[in-house]
Symmetry: none
Subunit: 127 residues, 4 copies
DNA sequence: GTGGTCTAGACCACA
DNA sequence: GTGGTCTAGACCACA
């Protein structure tokens, strides 16, 4: 499995691993039922400790994205994309609420936010 | 000076102090030239350690928002609101870029972002 | 033989198998002399590994509840219900002693224990 | 603080520490507000790693029995003995339900349970 | 000074 | 072979 762990990055190794696997699963590159590489193997490949891989897998399991079975291995779960999206929308809203709180101190208005959104997302009109 | 430090909050004490003073300054509640309470006094009032207040003041000084003068005290700086806003806009853009990166994994589109923005900022048409 | 192995359960597969067979034997559903299904057959039926069934049988043999005969199969042993009950009573006493140790820390008294016993075992007067 | 960690015991070190501190707190030997020894100090005294003590403290914090404050230390919480007792009664009931499940397989009846209870708790009539 | 996080390996349980 | 638990220390953040 193609995964990069940068030792220079300030995001911890387990988080880098977690995010890359998550992305592969959510984008469908790793379909439901796929067996992930064993903890030991991936640890060896990435040149990190098994604890680090273990933690990445553990958090993915907490997110219900994979399931780990003692003595058997770790497997990709069936994903309900809609509920995942909804859940993430909620988190996003929290983040934006935070941003809103700060922004008003700096005199930033809705128009400024829209400007940034338009700049970053370009002219795709949505859907 | 009216400042609340919640011991329960997970944001550290020095950060709570820093943000509240910053808000007062940026919103104009504390105009340029105002003298801040001495570190010792504020520490006593807020029931926190001197080191904690010192750190808050230090960071505000690094942000050029206040200036501390040996033996005289700390004073609110002249603020160029426009450049502060511009600086913050850059930070905001970085944050939004991050959000954009994550969002595409979850199948979130521009329209979803706009929906959140409209919901949070209401119908203020901007400017 | 009717046995359920839940892959979701947190008790390991071999333990689920062991307990269910044990129950059938102790309650008399499988009388002494009965031949158990072969390891291979049961593994296939239950959709688990041979090693898993083997372990369940092994432990039952250690408990003298079944006996395995090279090349012939596994058979239910003659059970002396009284001595089995006595043995289990000893284990139970150990467990209750443990519970007693903890309970006093929490201020739980004999009356509280009796309340629970009465609630769970209902009004059967015993014997 | 008087704490024994037996390296021979099969209960893990962090659990031994957790239980002994918990007992001291619940019995009132460590009243609310008391500062616990720092993680490092206790680790040194008990000759275990700081992780081990950390974990003991962490679990006590999850149980709301102590509270840890970064940079300040760990402190004994105010305990509501009644709710603690009620919570433990529930756990106890679960355990007894489990015991009941096993017992019926072995032909153990309410009277047998009562016999054990009477033997262990003696003739204290309750309260 | 304090507690918190990350990475680590030895050892254990399960299939 | 697989994953799970425990103990460990280096390093970081906070007061």
């Amino acid at each position: 499995m193609q995964i990069q762990v940068s030792i220079m990055s300030e995001t911890p190794a387990y988080e880098q691993i977690r995010m890359q696997i998550k992305e592969k699963i959510l984008t469908g590159a790793l379909p439901a039922g796929t067996q992930l590489p064993s903890i030991r193997l991936m640890a060896k490949d990435l040149n990190v400790g098994i604890i680090t891989v273990k933690r990445a897998y553990e958090e993915l399991e907490n997110e219900k994205i994979i399931v780990s079975m003692q003595g058997k291995g770790c497997f990709v779960n069936e994903i309900d994309r809609d509920s995942v999206k909804k859940m993430y929308m909620l988190i996003l809203k929290e983040q934006m609420l935070d941003i809103k709180g700060f922004s008003c101190i700096y005199g930033i208005k809705k128009s400024d936010i829209l400007e940034i959104v338009n700049e970053l997302w370009g002219d795709e009109i949505g859907r």
